[in-house]
Homo-oligomer: 250 residues x 4
């Protein structure tokens, strides 16, 4: 299987933007995606399980169960904003191999729905941050980058890890444009404040008019979900292990 | 291959329940499944080898050999109980990837035989347990949960690891209901007492009337098999390594 | 690819026995297979590369190169002995997954050529061995076992690791008989003496009349090949790491 | 996916030589390939992403992004030199499995374009090197070897790791000839001097007339790219981990 995918509906979308919102540094993308789903009443159309997710289920307080999953939602524009595909989940894949396979499959689905533009949000880990955290960006091409710079973002210098980084590379291979927005954050806990700044910029960029008053509740729900899977407590320890290995030498 | 599957017979079953019975905490599921197979004279219809099982064979006292394997048995109801598919084996897969692949294949076979309901048994590891161990449950939906609560089980709070946890998640994706029954146990050795309480509850739930007088012999056979593969002595040491890794950061 | 296989010829064989001869404890199987190939002038008909072999090549003294490989040879009987498929190589696969995939592919090829019987040779590691090392056996069925016991072998008690162990399990799934012959050895170096006893027993069992006078030269060639790949010096160190992991708990 | 491949053009080539130029010891192959691409104005015709590459993207100084990638270029001969396929990239695969899969795919593409000859360049790590570093060679056959020896190369004795080693083995399986040229180098940094000597020999061998005056700039560009992916700083540490594991014992 590698990825088991259930597609519940194949929506007709008009040039949709794919917004990646999996857990990562500061959980900025994860909170933002959840908030967008709530505010836009986005509709679930696909679910993904991967052989590279955790092999467990967690129980909810009411005796139900929750599994490591990724979900795709769509939003059909009603107010001049572009159609959206929102990629939310409670986990990324646990191995490099699994990450690429997951991204490859989501990209296939998105491209099949006409998507030619991908946005990834994220946190940019800093030891110190100001009250109004700085926003950084990277883009697949100069034109897109210019739009981002016009919104007040600075050019990001460094490495973008995980799904956000892979999506940039895989989408470029298919000629799909992409754009990363990264907000300063301490990184280890779900950061509602950083997410607020990310969404404010996204609001301007996509011309979607998202109300941010209930953002704290999305952050709190994100924290609870990730704690139940043991993700949050592990985040800091595991970060040190985050070193790539190079095992090839002629 | 990943999974090499030999299907010896394709039974016609009527809305069967799949009972997962692989080795796990307290070996509750493993003993219970073996006992059910004996008592119901359930019939072997499929065998599975996985590339993620151990790469060895063990010899029996008589010069025969035994390999890491999973087996599927069926039981056609004669007395008002539901038809059963019993999933027994002497191992789970050794990697997360292998676990998902294994579950995916068994689920395919079961669904193909008309299965829409899965039961997983298990042990719930505790430092102290009472003589009559407590029973916990988790379910895919509130209706099923209610039935379980009526049998005297409490709502389980926590994580369900391994095949039992994965099956809950993969089955939900296909709209298959599932139900986990977990009994308090110390966890490290095959626990006949805990299994007795699990089977008593299962008896009530499935309205199958299993005699439990020979349960100790199933526990003893389970212990011997798992020792020959080196599973039991390793259980305690390996438990500490049982921590999921999170290696993705935006 | 997982396994890249080049089949140079598809021989017509009459009920052939597959003899597994990859490197293992005491390199008994490896030396024996090489010696059989030389003495019987067995013919190479297939070569296998696996994604789970080492990622290197070694140079020979003359500027040529040698790669991690498995080879299949056949021998068409001329003197009442059975036809043989001899599986020789300078490596097993480096991962459990790779081992199963390799065995699965070789089994497919062998079965396709009419093979219904598999022999695995091997060393049985002991701290002390007598000048005439003891021979142990394990078999898929009692009838085959009886034949082996009649040759003077004792019943083996324990675990058979690696390709030899997997082949027993995968072949049983297809109803193919198998038979393991294991000779006492210290295990860490290519053991010509142990191999001599293994081949003497094999001679009786298969009624093949192999001359053993040049066996030392096969042992020496085996040692040189394995040293060039760094296999032999690593054998002892790695043995301690040879512990299976159990990471599933309900 | 394992490998996601985008083929932009399928060039008509006449008996082309594939030149492998991925990062390795001394980055000799990597610098050489980049220099050849520049000097010959070789044309990009295929790009490869692998599930075994790093899961990240790096940003460029201008806000663009760069991903772990392999690229294939072609050069149609204008001056009696042979047609070339140049395999350049900023990474090899991170796992043995990934290395083999990558090589298998590139070999398929190259063979499909008529390639029957492969050249791998590389560094040969030494503690001390002379100002004019020695050149070593290994070849698939004696005839090719003889040509190399005539160019002043010595016979290499040892192991060729990574993609260069695998290509030798996989190509031999398809009857494709290959030839490795290895230059003495300290190994840990991009070595322009060693590369100069490699290219001088390659110039003679392929009768291609490459100007070497801008080689330092290719070395500098290679260093910058690899540093941005964190490859260079990791090289020395990781080298110690470069030991193959042998986990099979009968």
């Amino acid at each position: 299987m590698v990825c088991a995918i259930q597609i519940y509906e194949k929506p007709r979308l008009n040039n949709p933007v794919l917004i990646e919102g999996l857990p990562g540094i500061g959980f900025v993308a994860n909170i933002a995606a959840l908030h967008l789903i709530h505010e836009l009443s986005a509709k679930l159309f696909a679910e993904i399980r991967s052989s590279s997710f955790q092999d467990l289920a967690v129980t909810t307080e009411t005796g139900g169960t929750r599994s490591p999953t990724n979900e795709l939602y769509y939003y059909k524009s009603r107010d001049g904003c572009r159609d959206l595909i929102i990629w939310h989940g409670n986990t990324q894949a646990l191995t490099t191999f699994g990450q690429y396979e997951l991204c490859g499959r989501v990209l296939e689905i998105a491209e099949d729905l006409g998507c030619r533009f991908i946005m990834t949000l994220g946190g940019f880990k800093k030891e110190e941050i100001t009250e109004t955290p700085k926003i950084y960006c990277a883009a697949s091409d100069l034109e897109t980058l210019k739009e981002a710079l016009n919104l007040g973002a600075k050019i990001m210098v460094g490495q973008i890890f995980g799904v956000a980084g892979i999506m940039v590379g895989l989408s470029k291979l298919r000629g799909i444009k992409s754009f990363s927005l990264l907000v300063e954050t301490f990184g280890a806990y779900p950061d509602a404040n950083a997410t607020r700044h990310a969404l404010t910029t996204l609001n301007k960029f996509l011309k979607v008019n998202i109300d941010l008053s209930k953002l704290d509740s999305a952050a709190e729900q994100t924290r609870k979900t990730l704690e139940s899977f043991g993700v949050i407590k592990n985040v800091i320890q595991e970060k040190k292990k985050e070193e790539q290995k190079f095992r090839w030498f002629i």
